[in-house]
Structure formats: structure tokens, C-alpha cells
């Protein structure tokens, strides 16, 4: 079930919520947890019932491993547990990729099976690994199966995170304040959900209208001009951010309505002043997972610079591969590894030559934000392209090797958004808004990501000073009620006009 679907918004969530808080009258939280687990399984099984068997099966195996580890901290069992999870992930996600590459290397034509990728398997696997590690380290001592089931299957973050630790979530479920309905939690949670929905439907899905045709054309070997390529790739840069951060906002909002605080996943990443900063703001829970469970176990920065950079690169390559079974993802990860290495070297240079004053200047920050954003965009080319031939086409387009301008046959002339803008403002249909419209659209997107506060700041999960923020910050008043309701129904209106798109990160 998609968060941005009518059955979820009008049936699943209201019913789940109602029953959950009706059950709060029982003395223990057992019934509430049972209900959350049931609802989560309905949520997951809505796509394909067979996924439920896989989910339940892997939950049982992991719980058995954890139970053993609680009794006896056996390293062999611990590694076996980790391998089991990695093997399941490998089977579903990487078998075809692996066989394909073996075939290419050896020249033999092995049979490549067509294995359907269960939804959210990468996220679920990471969460289960985090649990096993926490149990092995003695951080988790709870041996209640129902609690574990809720931890793994909790529907707001089941499919695409945020990736959480057991204690982070289950300690909240055992808290008496979580048991009962809170008007404040509901209001803040719903507002965040609506902001996330609007980000997804109004911003990400409309950006996709620009990005998808560009990558589809380049994948078909069509050469695009400088403007066309830039518009498409910038649009994808906005799409991926609004899509995933929109999903995270919705997840955090839904959990908040149920009284659970999920960790933040995005904090205006395109405002980052360098790549280190970017990874502290982009998919924050994944960054922490990679740091805690790959980078630090590899040695982190404890054994000199060369080891530190090697560890960084390995971590980012794994992070890239985690996103998808394709060399383009590995290169994307490697590219970010390289960026991080250069960034760490620059930090060393700044420390050595005491350049702190320059680094603190407004001009430096502005320039470095722009440079960081540009390098992130270049990396997205690899992330979005289905193969290296498309990457090549994209870079040729980005550097103007296929010419400039918007040709007569350009996909931009077919943009539904352009027609929509025309219909909204009843412009003269003969008036060409192709180039102008695209530019205005991209400028609007840039203004949103660089000038406006982010959703967490708006609902005061993150508190920051500033006059604009003071004006915009959510309050339980009539103005914000009207804004929230309008945003909700404009988004719902868009959902009726456009095909409902699943979230980008569901594929990872």
C-alpha cells in the first residue's frame, strides 16, 4: 500500500488509528502491539501476499538467532545470523547481477533467473542486522517475540525507513504516554504527513515529468541538447529529494500520530556546504548505519589516513551497491567516496594552514554550497542512469556536445505541466512557455530547497532562529488549519489527475 494512495489515506490509516487507540483502554500494551503488527502485515501484504511468508519467515529466523545470542554470545552464531540476512538480500537483489557479470567475465552463458525483488528488503535487512548487532553487543535484552515483530514490521518505516534501532522504537511503545491519544502528536504528525504528501505529489511527481523523458530518451540513444539535459537532470535532482524526503516526512508524521518519534532522515541536504555535511543531512539513518556497522568495524579513522580513506571508499561502495544491483550504483557510491576523501583532505589542509577564517566567511559558504550541489548533481547522473551508455549520453549533453537550444521536436513541448500551467492561468495557447516555463519551474524548485525552511523546521522538530521561520512555523491556529487542509486537497486533486507513482526508494 502506498502512503500516497486513497485506500491508505481514507481507509487503512484511519481504521488502524481508531482501533489502536480504542485498544489503549486495555491494561497492557499487548493488544495495541498485536494490532500494530497485524495492520503492518496487512499493509505489506497489500502488494503481494507471498511477501508475507518471506517477511514472517525471516523474522522467525532472526528472532531465533537473537534468542541464542542472548543466552550465549557465540561469535559463530552471530556471523551465521549476519550471513543469513546478507544471503537473503543477495539472493533476491544481486543473483541476476552476479550471474550476469560472471557470464560476461567467463564468456559462458549462464541462466539468469528472474527473481522478483520483495519490497523494502534492503531496509528490512539492515534493520535486522542492526538488531542482531545490538543483541550481540548486549544492548538489547528483550526477548519478546511480539515486540520484535512490531520493531521489524512497523508500517510507517517498513518499506523505506528511516532505519531504526530496537531500543529507539520499542522503548517508546513501552512508554505509557505512547499508549494514549495525543491531540498535539496527531496535529503535528498529520501536518508533517500532509507536507510529505505535497512534496511527493506536487513536487516530486511533477519533477519526474521533466526527468523521466530525458533519461528514457538518452537510454534509447537519443542525443539531447545542453538545455534539455540540464533541465532533465536538475529535475531528477529535485525529484529524488522531494520523493524520498516526502516519504520520510510521511513516515515520521504517521509514527508521530501513533505517538512514536522516528529519527530524522533529511535535513535540507542541498544546503550542505560540503560533502561531509551532505551525508550528515541526506538519508541520515543510512549514513549512521554505514558508519556504525561498516566504517567503524573496518577501523574507521583509527589507523592513519590511508586506511581511513580506504575504509571510506569501501563504505561508500557498499552503500552504492545497497541501492541497487547495477554498476552505475557502485560508481555513484565510489564517486561519493572520492568526494569524501577529497573533502577530508581539504579539511586537513584547512587545519594545517589555519584557514578557519576563510571557511567561516559567507562567500566561502555560498561558493562551497554551490560546488557541493553541482558535484551531487553529477553523481545523480550515475544513480539515475540504467547503464553506462546513458551516463555517457548524459555527460555529452551536460557539456553541450550535442548542441544547444530547445529543438522543435523536444520532449519539453509535450510536457503536461506546461499545458497544466496554461490551463491554470488560461494563457493564450499559442504562447510558447516551453523554455521559460521549464526555467521558472526549476528556479521555483531551487527557491524551495535553498530558501524555505524544511519540514522538520516547520513543525519545530528542529528548532532554529529566523524571522521567516517564525512566520512559517506551524501553530495550532486557523491559518495553519486552512493551509494544511488546502495542501491536502490540492495534493489529492493532483493524485486524481496524474497516475499515482510509487516512491523512488521502494526500488532499493
Amino acid at each position: 500500500m502506498l502512503f500516497n494512495s486513497f485506500p491508505f489515506i481514507f481507509l487503512f490509516f484511519p481504521i488502524t488509528l481508531l482501533i489502536y487507540f480504542l485498544l489503549s483502554k486495555s491494561k497492557t500494551s499487548f493488544l495495541q502491539l498485536m494490532w500494530i503488527a497485524t495492520a503492518s502485515f496487512i499493509f505489506y501484504g497489500y502488494w503481494k501476499k507471498t511477501y508475507l511468508i518471506l517477511l514472517l519467515g525471516s523474522v522467525c529466523f532472526n528472532f531465533a538467532f537473537a534468542q541464542y545470542l542472548m543466552q550465549d554470545k557465540n561469535k559463530f552464531i552471530f556471523i551465521l545470523g549476519l550471513l543469513f540476512n546478507v544471503a537473503v538480500l543477495f539472493y533476491f537483489k544481486y543473483t541476476a547481477f552476479f550471474i550476469h557479470n560472471i557470464s560476461k567475465l567467463t564468456g559462458f552463458h549462464f541462466f539468469i533467473p528472474n527473481i522478483a525483488l520483495p519490497l523494502g528488503i534492503s531496509f528490512i535487512t539492515f534493520q535486522k542486522i542492526a538488531y542482531l548487532v545490538d543483541v550481540y553487543r548486549g544492548k538489547v535484552k528483550d526477548n519478546n517475540f511480539l515486540n520484535y515483530l512490531v520493531f521489524i514490521s512497523f508500517f510507517p518505516q517498513l518499506i523505506a525507513g528511516p532505519i531504526v534501532h530496537y531500543n529507539q522504537i520499542m522503548s517508546q511503545f513501552s512508554n505509557i504516554r505512547t499508549k494514549f491519544f495525543s491531540y498535539r502528536y496527531f496535529n503535528v504528525g498529520m501536518t508533517l504527513f500532509v507536507i510529505g504528501l505535497a512534496k511527493k505529489v506536487l513536487l516530486a511527481d511533477t519533477a519526474a515529468l521533466y526527468a523521466d523523458p530525458v533519461f528514457a530518451a538518452m537510454n534509447q540513444g537519443i542525443s539531447l541538447t545542453f538545455q534539455e539535459t540540464w533541465i532533465g537532470i536538475l529535475a531528477y535532482t529535485f525529484q529524488i529529494y522531494f520523493d524520498f524526503s516526502g516519504y520520510s516526512d510521511m513516515a515520521i508524521g504517521l509514527a508521530r500520530v501513533l505517538g512514536i518519534r522516528l529519527p530524522l532522515n533529511f535535513n535540507s541536504p542541498y544546503k550542505a556546504v560540503n560533502i561531509i555535511d551532505f551525508w550528515r543531512r541526506w538519508h541520515m539513518t543510512l549514513s549512521r548505519f554505514l558508519r556504525d556497522y561498516i566504517y567503524i568495524p573496518l577501523g574507521g579513522n583509527r589507523n592513519g589516513n590511508i586506511r581511513k580513506y580506504t575504509n571510506l571508499m569501501i563504505t561508500m561502495l557498499v552503500g552504492g551497491l545497497w541501492h541497487g544491483a547495477n554498476w552505475t550504483f557502485v560508481i555513484w557510491g565510489g564517486l561519493h567516496g572520492l568526494y569524501l576523501m577529497v573533502n577530508h583532505m581539504w579539511v586537513s589542509v584547512c587545519n594545517t594552514f589555519r584557514l578557519h577564517r576563510i571557511v567561516q566567511t559567507y562567500f566561502y559558504k555560498l561558493t562551497s554550497t554551490f560546488i557541493t550541489f553541482s558535484f551531487v548533481i553529477f553523481a545523480w547522473v550515475f544513480f539515475r542512469s540504467p547503464n553506462l551508455a546513458t551516463v555517457k549520453k548524459a555527460f555529452h549533453g551536460l557539456f553541450g556536445l550535442h548542441g544547444f537550444g530547445i529543438p522543435e521536436t523536444s520532449y519539453l513541448h509535450q510536457m503536461p505541466l506546461i499545458n497544466m500551467i496554461k490551463s491554470i492561468f488560461t494563457l493564450d495557447p499559442s504562447f510558447s512557455v516551453t523554455g521559460l516555463g521549464s526555467c521558472l519551474y526549476l528556479i521555483l524548485m531551487l527557491a524551495i530547497i535553498w530558501l524555505l525552511p524544511n519540514s522538520q523546521e516547520l513543525v519545530r522538530i528542529i528548532r532554529k532562529p529566523g524571522l521567516l521561520l517564525k512566520l512559517l512555523v506551524w501553530k495550532p491556529n486557523l491559518a495553519h488549519l486552512m493551509i494544511t487542509m488546502s495542501l491536502l486537497y490540492i495534493s489529492l486533486g493532483f493524485m486524481c489527475d496524474f497516475e499515482i507513482k510509487p516512491f523512488e526508494y521502494f526500488a532499493f
Partner: protein
Amino acid sequence: MPSVESFKVRHRVWFFSFLIGNLFIIFLAIIANPYRLLPISLTITGINDIKPNLYEYQRYVKVFDMAHKRPKTVLLGSSRILWGVDPKHPVLQQKHYTPVYNGGVLGPPMYEIKKYFDHALTSQPNLKRVILGLDFYAFNQKFDGRTFLLEDSFGKNEKQLLKIHSNLAYDVKAIFLTLKDSILRKQCKSLREDGRLTPAPLEMREIYKDFFKIDEKRQVNNKTLVTKENAAPQMRNILYGDFKLSKIDMDALRHIVDVCQKHNIELYIFTTPPYMDKKKGSELLVYHKNGIWNDYINFLRELASIHPYWNFVSWNEITTDKNNYVDGSHFVFSVGDMILNRMFNIPDSSIPKNFGNYVTVKNVDQFVQNLELAYEQSVKSAQYNGG
């Protein structure tokens, strides 16, 4: 600085306002039910009885309706079926043959009609009867390969379709349009529960003045798209321009015939009659002008070799009477009734003898010869009348 208590009160008020606001809109969605997707179907005149989106999104609606109502008799074809053939005709209301559903849609090529047929059979494996109205343009090769929005919807059951199109149930614009038009009593085309156009043509003449009589000038890039003067020729160019008989469409027809034979489904095929203007000629004149007369004759012969059919495209008191037509293409329900009466052998004194010929492999040569003679006479008559 508001006190903690007032902050709590404000949160409570905000919550209830948000809840009531949303419940109110859900209530409106249920009342309006603009696409009839919700299980609660309550029609209140002046509140929700006029649902314009049903007509606008008729393809979605018809696919869903077929899966939902699982009709045992389906009427298939183009807008001539949708506009002119009434599923409530007594001859169709026989026991074991109901429910009857009008599955006609605007401008479908034959292979799209085949999709509706297959969908009807998937929805109702016990399908008893198919009445298929054919238009020549539906066999134009230039429509081959046209993709449909509904590609993923055909063959799905009601539950699966609800899953795909559930967003339409809460289409905010459609909800308000339904309520607005119903309250303001705005007349517009819609669909009855059995798929038929409503209101009936002639009941509301002012809303049926379009198609061949579009009194509208639209300029796009300084190019006139449609005007009152050029609407008919333009439409005919769209439908019959570059005509080549499509193999895909003929195969689609054969498929329907074969499946009906295999499943013992009664199949009635007829050619739908346009207005045969005595002065300006007729649709047949367009075939001549476009150089596709031979294609048309070949089509009629091939059709007879596939399945016997009733031909209504000819000159007679019915097809030359303007009062029987809404425009140059669409006949009214009384003509639809006569077509059904003729095909089902119901005695009807108002039907002239030359309205409808039953064409089979045996008499197709004679029929074609007669049609050519009639055409020549009509051309002469048109010339005599200055047409």
C-alpha cells in the same frame, strides 16, 4: 505567551476542525460518488443526479461497470451505440439475458471493441448475447497501435479495478462538479447505470448540437482547428483519411465471432446508419470522395464471409429523415428501437420494409449491387437538387 492549558485547548480545537473538515469532504465524496465507484449509491435529484464525469471518463466507467454489473447481454460499438441503443428495450429484457449493458464508447477502433468484448466475457463467463454495431472507420488501419489509458484495466475484476482507480472515487474536482451541476440543474451528457447516454437525445436538444455542428472557432498557432463550416469534412478526414482496411481490426472481429461460437453466445452484428442527407449526399459520398468506395465494398463482402449481419446504411424513410438524427452521425433511440425490432423480428408497422437488409455470404453480391445502384441514384438526386 499562551499558557499550557490554552495551548492544549488550541490543539484540541485544531484537531476537531481538521477532523470535521475531512469528514465533511468524505461525506461529499460519498454523496457525489462522481464515478459510481463507491458501494453506497444514493441518487437524490437536485443533489447528485447529474454526474458529468461519467461521460467524460466513460472508458474508465464502462470497464468498471462491466466488472461490477457482470452483464449477460452487452451492446458494443461506437458512440452511435452509446447514443442510440437502449439496453432497456423490451426485446433485450428477456429472462436469463439480463442485466443488459451498453458498452458503446466514443470512437473506438475495432480492436478496442474486442478488448471490451473480452473484458465483458472475463467479467461474466456466462455471457449470453452480444449486439455489435459496426462503423466503417473502426477498421481504418491508421488507428492501429493506438494505445489506451486502460491497457492495464481490461480483464481485471471489480476489486482489482477499484485498487487501480480508487483515486477517482475521491476526485475532488469531480465531486464538486457533480454537486454543482446537480444543484444548478445544469444539463450535460452523462451515463445511466446501464451504460446508456443520458439524457436521451432530443430530450435536451441544446446540449446535442455539437459534433458536426460545432459552432466554435478555436485558434491554435493561428490555425483554425474546428469551425462550423469545416467540422464535418474535418471529422470525416480524421475518420476516413488515408483509409486502409486494417488486418488487426478484421482479426479482432473474427476473434469476437469465434469466441461467441465457442461459448454459445448469441451474436448480432449490424452496420450503424448515419444520416443519409438527400441534398448533400451521405457518409457513402465521403467514401467516394476519399477514393475508398472499393474498400468499403470489400469490407462489406469480407464481413459477410465472417458472420451474417444486418445492414442499415442505406436510403430509406428513416435514414433520410432529419428528425431521426441528433446530427449527421447519431440516430435517436426510436431508430435504435427499430434496429432492435428489425433484428429480433418484432412486428413494427413504423419500420419501412427497406430499413435493414440481412446480409449473408449467399446474398452479399446482390446486396452490394443494390447498394451501388442506390448510391448512383442518390448522387443523381443530390445533383438534381443542387447538392
